[in-house]
Symmetry: C2
Subunit: 308 residues, 2 copies
């Protein structure tokens, strides 16, 4: 029953790679139109702006906003003011203040607002969360390292402040950690290494702890030769749980509990449909708040210039 | 009726200069004890730790936490877990995540949590807010400049990341602006000037706008020769409202509407008493969130080293 008419705002790489395939197989959504001044999807009515798309398609119940981060707030506002439900790609905004405002607006309008942290829909995340709920945790290690030249070729924007540098992948790790760990945690120390010709960090070393003093250390690095490392290790009284390959593989004491192909976006859209049907919102600010906290409290060290 | 027994946590300059005189004249509070490992107030029972103070004084209904920012979270947690109401000096925490957690804890415990933005209790703030509520606003200029050598002599901590540099006074301006302006506003651009031997900015130029596109520009600078400038100018269709001298003087088109001595802390404690009696909390994250947003999205420029 593809009964939720949806429009895509911004037709870029993430839409072609992830949103379009997920919507094509979705049982909930029907892709009706796109809005982008310079790109179209074949076979789908395209409009130059969100406003034009909404005007032409009053039947649209929802929009997914996949534009560059700094455009998302004003677009989400337009959609919510017209009573449409909104999915925000990660991160949900360029600033926390904008997202807090959208949460209030969605509440007033009775619309669904969904801050879509796609990494939370990786295959092993739900089981890791379930398993950890009952455990006594001694230490958490988050390693999120990849070669920026391989994974972000030619993306000069990533080195501007709003591009967030290594926090662009790192926030995915934080979105998983805040989902699977049973208690909130708080920044204790942050070191950022910023190339002398850039504004955003190429590497970050963060130390958190929860209210019981459990250490949670995170290393984000864009200077990792391939293959990438996207791992979270949780030392517990009952053994070492490892979420590997960005969440596709789950191990306990080195033995495989689960291994599956990445299917984040189908899960993400199923969740969006559930939220719309229940008339609820899901906006967890924690991952972006941790990045903002790190930027607020970090020691910054200049490092060698980055030349792609 | 001084019926609210209160303890002070951290006995430093702000306590002697502001909290103690305000509590001495308060009709609501009775100062019962202090907690500080290395300082006492004459005539008031002193303890080395918050825990020791709470144990010795089960009658304490409230505590005011005036310790360095990085200590506040764990102390506030202890007090809330024991069912005491908590006032947090500004800023309410070293990170937004900590403050968000305290808000949840206070709710669960049914205790009052008060993030005390003292500048909001400056004499002209309430009238400025009232007057602006009905106005059409064209532009806002926030100028907050002072000589760091005069106002923060020997305070090396202010140049560490958590010290926030020029945001330490600047957050006072943001706490007033978020109080008097009728609509929320959002960061559009931030430039920070950071001395090459420091971690925190000596000057900041921030541009915000609200959802109607009203420009709000803020200039914070620690390099201002005396006298300091602590002003907010609001251009409206009905004239130019100026809140001057940190909020002690209010002008409309250059004519004085109000001028009064600074009495922020008596007002702040009256508000805390009201919240306790009504069993409510008041934690507005907006000022700290704007600073975190600025740190997240700022262009940073190195500037000459700061030598006191």
């Amino acid at each position: 029953m593809q009964d939720i008419e949806i429009g895509l705002v911004g037709v870029g790489k993430i839409v072609r790679d992830q949103h379009l395939p997920a919507l094509t197989e979705s049982r909930d959504f029907q892709l009706v139109a796109t809005a982008d001044p310079s790109a179209r999807l074949e076979g789908v009515p395209g409009y130059d702006s969100l406003t034009a798309m909404l005007e032409a398609h009053p039947e649209l119940k929802a929009v997914a906003i996949c534009t560059p981060t700094h455009l998302r707030y004003s677009q989400a506002r337009i959609a919510l003011e017209q009573g449409r439900s909104v999915l925000l790609e990660k991160p949900p905004g360029a600033t926390l203040s904008e997202v807090a405002d959208l949460v209030e607006l969605a509440e007033r309008q009775g619309c669904t607002l969904f801050a879509a942290w796609h990494s939370r829909f990786a295959p092993g995340v739900a089981q890791a969360r379930e398993w950890l709920r009952e455990q006594r945790i001694n230490r958490v290690e988050i390693d999120w390292r990849e070669d920026v030249r391989v994974w972000h070729p030619g993306q000069a924007w990533i080195w501007e402040p709003a591009g967030m540098g290594v926090f662009d992948p790192g926030i995915n790790a934080l979105s998983i950690a805040t989902k699977i760990l049973p208690r909130a945690f708080f920044l204790r120390d942050a070191r950022l290494w910023v190339p002398s010709n850039c504004q955003a960090p190429i590497a970050a070393a963060l130390t958190f702890s929860d209210m019981e003093g459990t250490p949670i250390v995170a290393d984000f690095d864009f200077r990792q030769p391939s293959p990438p490392i996207w791992s979270i290790h949780v030392e517990t009284e009952a053994g070492r749980l490892s979420l590997l390959q960005g969440g596709c593989r789950l191990e306990l004491n080195g033995e495989c509990l689960l291994e599956a192909d990445e299917r984040e976006y189908p899960g993400l859209y199923a969740r969006f449909a559930e939220l719309i049907r229940k008339r609820r919102s899901d906006v967890d600010l924690a991952p972006l708040r941790h990045v903002a906290d790190a930027c607020l409290a970090a020691w910054r060290e200049p490092t060698e210039p980055f030349i792609e």
